[in-house]
Symmetry: C2
Subunit: 377 residues, 2 copies
């Protein structure tokens, strides 16, 4: 019992860096001892672990089907971030989604089979949330598939010596581009989808998902946060963003309080010719870094905006590996020029990569002046 | 001039994290303005840069021929580290080797052509430092090639508004295993070489190299540090180590003051069955991390010893990527168990990798208690 109280005390103190592992024994059931990980950042949740094992999702790996690794990571961490307001990281614990299994999700993201009494269940399902196939094949005439994937996250609280489910977050990954074939194994075609349509369709689907969850055992009254995520096309170097979030409380069967999230991600150098203070800063940084060696270094960045405000930058320097002393010199040069040219006060990550992988990494957190760096040897 | 004095002042103050770029203009010759990078760690040297460009080595990329990436990095950073004592990082600046070009080094690492008046210059050279081919083909009868590669580093000091060469370090990469073919394009055979032989042959070669350098213009009186490096075999997960260092001062044509460096690198888990406090600690850490997911995580480490003392550990956790929230949980779990089980007080690096590259990174510097971590998203 002492360990458990210490755990709660540390939580209340907001200690996020300490190694505050707690171990409690569940006396009410036959479950094994439960513990939690520490919390390495106030953006992260402590994780519930059972007997040294992590409880993976009932739909483990479904987000691997998204258009790119950038989308997968943006979808998962984005849903975690927008869960912070309903389920603060200092009192809630994270567990992977345990309510929706892979089979259920696989059905829900199919097309609806409508009133077809003998549907082809490989492409449609009575429970499918995407529109009924209208038989059209042209990009602007067919009914596109809006919903690409569903992600469930569970948020737990302490309950005596145990943990109980206290919140669910549901992310809907929606297609800005729906890829399809006109014939099986045929060429790939695309239907572009407007944000306004994604939003309208996404909100309808979110209500339906919440209504279905409400009927499941034990979920009648659990707060459910829902986020709508627009994934970027397959060839984009940027990940997608959440553009709308809502919540269902007090057992409501629909989502209320929808709020717009006005975020966007832009790749530098911009290819659309648009210029701003940030693009000029980036171009200065890029030209200093690019020409450091006789061979050119590649320099790109993903800039995240909230409204018109730049809030985060992730830069990637790609170089050819000729030796470790060159990597050290380049890292020091990148640090100097990032401090000199890149925008102040926002968090910035810079990775230096060769064909062998990451060679060095620089990081400046929000509010810091100096970059922290690490050269891998 | 002000900028230059500030630079020197900062150096004297031992400020290693600041962005102390200095720019001086060389008025005595027509060379372009010179600057230096900042110094991100007291282990690193500031680099001389000319007009935003890094001066690459005259033998750029020669160390890429070593047996593995582990050896390349250990060879280069090792030579830099053993240069610290003669050429301290607070007063000396680093420049890549400018004295020995790739062609010269290529000749020197060949076999000696001995007194053959018409040698095959693709395999031997009058200037070759490896033994004359004795015609034997069996592993224990042939004369193996001891010397695999030569690395030159230059150490500069401020000279008014300019930088001048003030020290040279030469690293000799020596073969613990010499790989060879009996016939061209044939199977690969190996000759194992004892450390004692490498040391004796390496010291002779070092003297010859120093004697040759002394005859080159401007190098008659420059201090030359020499390090003997034993590279590990191609299939080793550990990099090699420097095992002997010496110095040639006051224009001497030989190396004096040879000192043994009693370092070794060991891969955990050990395959030789040897056990120690460290192997037990590592096994505990490994078993906690390995079984965190239903699929096994791979856990290995490179432990560096000085004598019998563990001085550094680099661990690698290999996992399968199912999603970002699993990576965050694993990182927190690794941090907890590294703090709990791995040896205290030594620097430890842990990278968490999937097939897509590095997913997260944890680092604890010497003397720190907590791990710093970064999850890449």
């Amino acid at each position: 019992m002492l360990a458990a109280s210490c755990g709660l005390l540390l939580t209340a103190c907001g200690d996020v860096t300490g190694n505050n592992q707690t171990t409690t024994t569940d006396t009410s059931t036959s479950e094994k001892a439960k513990a939690t990980t520490s919390q390495l950042s106030k953006d992260y949740y402590r994780n519930v672990i059972n007997d040294g094992q992590y409880k993976v999702s009932q739909s483990r790996g479904v987000s691997l089907s998204l258009n790119s690794g950038y989308n997968i990571k943006a979808f998962e961490t984005g849903l975690m971030n927008l869960s912070h307001s309903e389920f603060p990281t200092d009192t809630y614990y994270f567990q992977e989604g345990q309510q929706l299994d892979a089979e259920t999700i696989s059905k829900w993201i199919k097309r609806s089979s409508g009133d077809n009494p003998e549907p082809d269940l490989t492409v449609s399902d009575p429970e499918g949330l995407n529109p009924v196939d209208n038989g059209e094949l042209e990009p602007d005439k067919r009914a596109p598939k809006y919903l690409s994937q569903i992600l469930e996250q569970n948020y737990m609280v302490k309950d005596g010596d145990n943990f109980k489910l206290a919140g669910i977050s549901i992310g809907l990954a929606l297609n800005s581009v729906d890829y399809y074939q006109k014939v099986q194994y045929g060429a790939e075609f695309k239907t572009d989808i407007q944000r306004a349509n994604l939003e309208a369709e996404g909100k309808k689907m979110a209500n339906e998902i919440v209504a279905r969850l409400r009927k499941m055992e034990g979920l009648g009254n659990i707060p459910i946060t829902v986020g709508l995520f627009e994934q970027t096309p397959k060839d984009s170097l940027a990940g997608g963003v959440f553009f709308s979030e809502g919540v269902s409380k007090d057992g409501a069967a629909t989502v209320a309080n929808w709020k717009d999230i006005n975020e966007k991600k832009v790749i530098f150098p911009r290819t659309d010719g648009e210029t701003s203070n940030e693009t000029t800063s980036f171009e200065n940084f890029k030209s200093q870094v690019q020409s450091f060696f006789p061979n050119l270094n590649g320099v790109t960045a993903e800039a995240t905006y909230s409204g018109d405000q730049l809030i985060k930058m992730k830069a990637t320097v790609t170089t050819q590996f000729y030796g470790q002393s060159e990597i050290i010199a380049l890292t020091q040069h990148v640090s100097d020029n990032a401090s000199k040219y890149l925008p102040p006060n926002i968090p910035i990550e810079i990775s230096i990569n060769s064909i062998d992988g990451m060679e060095a990494f620089l990081n400046r957190d929000s509010g810091e002046k100096e970059f922290q760096s690490h050269v891998f040897d």
